[in-house]
Symmetry: C2
Subunit: 325 residues, 2 copies
């Protein structure tokens, strides 16, 4: 199953979200407009889809869901722009990053602008609960990243550490998206809780798969270089398992102990780590954990109204595991 099939249920309205995101590029400053056109509109749209699908269970109100779907996608884009500036990444979604083209300074400012614009769209819902959740989620993401920065190139990290990190980095925004859709369509509290759980666990699974793909994907499919987590000193699940299962002569250990090694040696270590992960049962083990989260995510969906979006959420959970990009 492809993403497009799952999106069918909300296809028209997703197109409206895309048009509203496009409209963000209509600003006075030609330079700002150019940067906005560069970064907007390239995503998979999974977060806006979550909002719209959640909205389908109760009183579907596009006037509220549309600004919030736009807000969440803009917030997501803003965090990517800042992440790339911080990590000095040069490629994202198959294109040069904002910091690569216009410098880190402008990337920081563009991210700020996008956060503010996202905040305005969130406020357009007129729903204070959603507006406050929006701000709290950005707090979770940024404070989580501060912790992640502290952890860079550290070898001693527990599984829980990793899960906390991806919870704040990815699951929090998935959760915000689906909870907003639920709240804005008048879902009862127990349904909001079930959907929140779904969004959170789907987000954890999504990020685990992302971290697997950083080892076994291709640059073309991923739109960014493979092995980028290791090169930034981020210890993800595959690297953790590699450390546990191959404690001797381990390229991750060598890399993390000498983060200032020459770029060429670094690339060698990363290549070796990627090779070792690919030949080991690690990929399978990581997928098992991700599948586990997806199963947990879907566990209580049966308690929600029997609407077509229920199946769509289940299909989405399958797709998150089976995606190649």
């Amino acid at each position: 199953m492809e993403l497009e099939e799952i999106y069918q249920l909300v296809e028209e309205d997703l197109a409206k979200v895309r048009r509203q995101i496009d409209s963000v590029t209509e600003v006075d400053s030609p330079h700002l407009a150019e940067m906005l056109r560069h970064v907007l509109g390239g995503g998979k749209g999974i977060r806006p889809a979550l909002i719209l699908l959640a909205g389908k269970f109760y009183k579907y109100n596009l006037d509220l869901l549309l600004p919030m779907a736009t807000a969440v996608e803009l917030m997501h884009t803003a965090t990517l722009v800042h992440d790339d500036a911080i990590d000095k990444s040069s490629v994202r979604r198959g294109k040069p990053t904002v910091n690569e083209v216009w410098g880190e300074e402008r990337a920081v400012l563009l991210g700020d602008y996008l956060f503010a614009k996202a905040g305005e769209f969130a406020a357009d819902t007129g729903n204070l609960r959603v507006i406050i959740l929006f701000s709290q989620t950005l707090q979770t993401i940024s404070s989580g990243e501060i912790v992640q920065t502290d952890d860079a190139f550290k070898l001693e990290q527990t599984r829980q550490h990793y899960l906390d990190r991806i919870a704040s980095k990815t699951a929090s925004l998935f959760s915000l998206a689906i909870v907003s859709g639920a709240i804005l369509s008048g879902a009862p509290e127990d349904s909001i809780k079930i959907l929140q759980d779904y969004g959170f666990k789907l987000g954890v699974a999504f990020q685990i798969v992302d971290d697997i793909l950083d080892f076994v994907g291709t640059e073309q499919e991923m739109g960014k270089p493979i092995g980028s987590d290791l090169s930034q000193g981020t210890l993800t699940l595959p690297a953790m398992l590699l450390l546990e299962q191959y404690p001797e002569d381990n390229p991750v250990k060598e890399l993390f102990r000498n983060p200032d090694m020459p770029e060429k040696d670094k690339r060698d270590k990363i290549r070796r780590a990627i090779g070792m992960v690919g030949r080991s049962p690690i990929v399978k083990q990581c997928y098992e954990l991700a599948s586990d989260y997806c199963a947990q995510a879907c566990r209580d969906l049966g308690k929600l109204p029997a609407k077509p979006s229920r199946q769509a959420l289940r299909d989405l959970a399958d797709l998150v595991i089976n995606r190649k990009k």
Copy 2:
């Protein structure tokens, strides 16, 4: 007159704002807490004071004014943290900057966190008009800064260009502060308009004086190095007048035409520019423009209710001109 005297009217509540800002440092992560303690609480508090003073004209409601005053001060701090990271500044308010102590990456993330926290406090007012204004102001500030980045080390800039720049950089937030205070205390629209005008023009005057002090102040009083605008290639009013009045053998021209000159030569040019401005009528001319804005700011205050805060706003305008730091 000192700032403390003007603040008397709202002294107790300003102390509450400070306590609420302090409470922001109470977070789980010890590292985040340390960074928050480093940046919070060091400002002059002029923006929170504007909110509270504006609130005094009508139905003073501290439950609404307090979160908004906190929001505006946090937003101001966030912009300073990002500005310093972008400009690679090393000193602010007499202390090393966040980027200097913890690196640019963490400064970007800390700023994001503060924006989000500010947004949450703004949402705590429950007033959608104020919440939307809050987001729009951050858009104005960040897009204005993108334009400013484009203008770095450019000699051909009009007076209007400069005024637009300081309008978005400083006046927009002054305006947000006082307008929020007015809205949250139920001021009628014509009074909101008068206060908005006051806040905006006071902000312009404040920034002109800031730009003067970057030439004639002392590092000790300003809490940051003098001449920092020139060293970042920012053409402020004193530098513009210097270019106009001394077109030959002009250190600003030399600096801006060779921004990559050795640091030592750069410092020489800046020192010479500071000396020339100090010996010329430029400082007086700049102060005249700032005073003009302050006079315009106060022009319609007489139409507001005859409350003590009316005189406080007039005194504040005087102080903005006469301040030394």
